[in-house]
Symmetry: C2
């Protein structure tokens, strides 16, 4: 058995903690069993391991999330990076081609595809086991998960079994029931009617044999190697797995899941599940109530008498929202759009700490960066900016135009535009980068090979 | 006639916009007649000029506010800096000694002492004119201002006239009535009783002849020069003018002021007087109401559905307060105390943009500083920190150990601990300063003479 986790989403709904580079599944705010904090994607990978499914995990994601996955999950998972974001069907095709061609997984092996951020308990993984067994036993070519709906939501897809379930729990000896129809995001009255007919939420979990999907993929991309699949990735239609596969499949079954399941996609649903009310440097008085406060900035945040609020401060911005209004963030997402001010990269993290534009058209941007020991940034060159690096902690090796020198606290190096440079950390290495130029964007970068 | 404005206060009640270095009277958030924003101290000096009192203004303040006064009022006022903060009696003595010894003001000239931040209209200055005239006409040695109380506040001092006023407006031909008693901050029931007896709020405005106060000052400090007064400043008792002078004086009169007067000392009273609801980079949705938002940070601040809130973000911290609870800031002032993260200095401004402490006991602090053209910082040396200066805009002259060089955008200079350095701006000069060391405080500085 193989697990494919789909990691997508641009994450504006949890602004300012989430941004284009840091989707909600990477926020480390969920209490973990050992008392630390973990992200939603770390939680689901931990739960998969504990469930004893004994299945390798492959994460399908885009280039913008690649570094976050590596930083949070490291070697524990395979990583498939989509050349461009095209929707779930192409993503699943690519991950399946990867398993077949790079990992030599057999066409007969069962693959389970699931989202990377369901907030569930351990019995969710028992249902996944039943789905895989249903495929193995030949109950259906494609088995999906139906989640007991708790209210007639217009946000989810629905799956209608051919015959309404007899009980709330699946028959463990024969848990797979045939599916009659998939319904995408109905309006609330239609959702109410569907629930009366016995429909369940479509949990976005799919089980099938690897060969089943490879055959579907081959309709669009015929290739001799995984590299050829990657090169022809844009030939896959931009369509969801539900539309392209689930709704068209001739043999579809469903396993019902009655346990705890929650989509922590908004501030409101997220804060319901948090064990603590404040994160970071926060002081709240006794007269407030039902207020959740997240402070990722280095300055104190004081709340006095606040009721039913979500307050979140990050290098990207500050949100103060009445809890019931927090979903309206999406109305302002474009207005608030700016470069990400915090990113987790494979080599460490950076925060933008200052940005100024001057009347003469130039600008200056200041970052604090931390490289993890042994990690290096790419050998790179910028066209439109100079950089000055001020080392404030740790030890590393700095290379400018092929010439290397050790750097440590108190050192300052100037990197004029057009010059190639890289940096490797020996111990945790922190530095302040001051960029000067006319165009200060992450995209002003050319990368070159370098061997340390 | 001479005006002395007392500028004091540590300003935690308007945290995080005010701090030890930036008291509330320096916040530029009051709408000025020309459409710009002015601070309370700028407003009162402008109003004094418009009132046609034709009186020189002297500001008595402490070292921590000196640079803010120079930056906001420049050459328009005299400046008297108290060697240490000791209360209003010593401050007024020092300012009077300054007028007598440095400005050759005659002992007979009338001096009016007033706070630097009353929020009033122009008729307040008419009352001041009547007070001065009362002293000149010999109605009393000391004339104070009584303000019509609008509620029985326990926050103010009261002044009880010998005979209750006959009308709400002073008799312009004979406006000075004798004072029977001063009462300091009574509790609310006592304040109610006082108001029934005809007491008024003590506005902290005092008029007297210069010689009157010089005689009182001489009881504590006998000196031949202003420098000697400064050197012996600590011989003045740490006591308020009310206790030391007003309550003991044998001939005290009062002029009643019936006009608009407000103490903008708290967020709640301040926001009542503001023409706009948002300051800085703020987005607020339509569903909120009665919310005032101040954002001095470079990142966006989004408010959704907020009701009756004060939200203020500055480099010092973030406040989210229910309006009725905002006075409770004082309970948390100690807890939130840190170095000021923004200061206005005589040469320009600085913001702290980053601070990190490392496990090895060292720390790093990053500032952005802007020097105004022609301005220079002092020639200085630090013992416990190195500094790296990264110039990001403008042109200036940098001096290290007596050797000067021009600096401009893109330049970086390293200043090791123990080396003397200074900087002068030719055009507006902005730079990022990275401090590294074991003790990163403003007090780690030795200043030396330098001639440009």
């Amino acid at each position: 058995m193989q697990i494919i986790l789909l990691s997508g989403g641009s994450g504006t709904r949890l602004w300012p903690l989430s941004n284009d580079a840091r989707s909600k599944q990477f926020l480390k705010i969920i209490p973990a069993p050992d008392g630390s904090m973990e992200s939603m994607i770390q939680r689901v990978v931990r739960q998969l391991n504990h469930a004893g499914l004994d299945a390798p995990v492959t994460i399908a994601t885009g280039a913008n999330q690649q570094d976050s996955v590596i930083s949070q999950l490291g070697e524990a998972v395979n990583l498939v990076v989509e050349p461009s974001r095209r929707d779930t069907f192409p993503a699943i095709c690519l991950a399946c081609e990867f398993l077949a061609r790079q990992k030599d997984v057999s066409r007969d092996e069962v693959v389970v595809v699931m989202p990377c951020d369901p907030f569930t308990e351990q019995d969710y993984f028992d249902a996944i086991r039943l789905m895989a067994k249903g495929v193995e036993d030949g109950a259906a070519q494609l088995v999906v998960m139906g989640i007991n709906p708790t209210y007639p939501s217009a946000k989810y897809g629905y799956v209608l079994p051919a015959t309404p379930a007899q009980a709330d729990t699946p028959d463990k000896s024969n848990p797979v029931v045939p599916v009659r129809e998939f319904i995408e995001k109905p309006d609330v009255p239609r959702a109410e009617a569907l629930i009366r007919e016995g429909a369940l939420w479509n949990g976005g979990v799919f089980a099938f044999r690897l060969g089943f999907l490879l055959d579907l993929a081959e309709k669009y991309v015929k290739a001799d190697s995984y590299e050829q699949v990657l090169a022809n990735f844009s030939a896959f239609p931009k369509i969801s797995f539900d539309y392209e596969v689930a709704e068209k499949a001739s043999s579809v079954g469903m396993v019902r899941y009655n346990g705890f399941w929650k989509d922590l996609g908004t501030w409101n649903t997220l804060t319901d599940e948090l064990a603590q009310h404040t994160f970071g440097n926060v002081v709240a008085d006794e007269t407030g109530s039902n207020t959740h406060v997240f402070n990722e900035l280095g300055i104190p945040l004081l709340c006095l008498g606040t009721q039913n609020l979500i307050v979140a401060a990050s290098p990207d911005g500050i949100l103060v929202s009445e809890k019931g209004k927090s979903e309206n963030i999406k109305l302002f997402a474009q207005q608030l759009k700016q470069r990400p001010m915090f990113e987790e990269r494979r080599w460490g993290t950076y925060s933008v700490i200052d940005f100024v534009e001057f009347p003469n058209g130039t600008a200056s941007l200041t970052k604090r960066l931390t490289l993890n020991p042994g990690c290096a940034i790419s050998y790179q060159r910028h066209t439109h900016r100079d950089e000055i690096w001020n080392f404030i902690d740790g030890e590393g090796i700095f290379v400018l135009d092929g010439v290397s020198r050790p750097v440590t606290r108190g050192d300052s190096v100037v990197i004029p535009a057009g010059h190639k440079h890289t940096l490797k950390a020996v111990t945790p290495l922190t530095f302040i980068e001051v960029q000067n130029g006319s165009l200060l964007i992450e995209e002003d970068i050319e990368r070159f090979p370098f061997s340390w």
